[in-house]
Amino acid sequence: MTLPHANHVFRALADPTRRSIFEQLTRQGEQTVHALTRYAGVSQPAVSRHLTVLRRAKLVRHRREGRETHYRAQPDALAPMVDWLDLYGAFWRDRFDRLESLLNRMAP
């Protein structure tokens, strides 16, 4: 999983409205833009812009049917979030360094 993709996922979900749309799709399955607009309580152009960002992050897929566009969630795209845990590695390695220096100061 490449970092640029992780950045897309993070950015896409940093916005509360987009997060809420994504969660709605995860809970309810496939939804039309109309249905999502009713749910999100913002204008349809705004919803469409949010969906574009989510699509770029591969968090949602869409298909056209007649005049309606249907969206569904792609939860697999959350995988980079798991990699994020690696960030904690830097925290612990730093603590290990500090532990080492404390042990050297301690009486045997």
Binding site: L85, L99, M106, P108
Partner: protein, 145 residues
């Protein structure tokens, strides 16, 4: 615990220290010593003890880690929960320390697991509470040095 060893949502940091396990154990479990390399705390090595690590507050995070002691097995194993954020909306991990005598010292292994085994089946869905994860993301990143 062994099932978590293969859990991909866990983080492991290991190192051999040229000191005996008993000394490591003191550094991990004596509150004053712990404060010198981790964070200030009110830790006590008693199973069930709720305690906090605390550091300077940063924007979006009050600097508090809420913990509960889960395993005290001197001088080999120590485990506590690791929670950031308010109550049910927070992020929760398990931290497990394992000390093993090694040539010239002690092998120290820290494992931080993000998911309990029973939560793994929810990995591909939203049930785990990813929204909580994201809601607290800024706080947690701010908590990293």
């Amino acid at each position: 615990m062994s099932s978590q060893a293969v859990c991909p949502q866990s983080l492991v940091v290991e190192r051999v220290f040229p000191h005996p396990p008993e000394k490591l154990w003191r550094a991990l479990t004596e509150s004053q010593l712990l404060a010198q390399w981790m964070m200030s705390n009110d830790f006590e090595p008693v199973v069930g003890r709720r305690f906090q690590f605390q550091r300077d507050p940063v924007p979006n995070w009050n600097g508090v880690v809420d913990c509960e002691v889960l395993i005290v097995d001197p001088p080999q194993r120590l485990s506590y929960s690791w929670g950031i954020g308010e109550g049910g909306a927070g992020l929760h991990w398990l931290v497990l320390w394992t000390l093993t005598p090694a040539e010239g010292g002690t092998h120290v292994r820290m494992e931080q697991s993000g998911f309990r085994p029973d939560q793994r089946s929810n990995y591909n869905g939203a049930k785990y509470g990813w929204q909580k994860f994201f809601a607290n993301l800024d706080s947690v990143v701010a908590g990293l040095d």
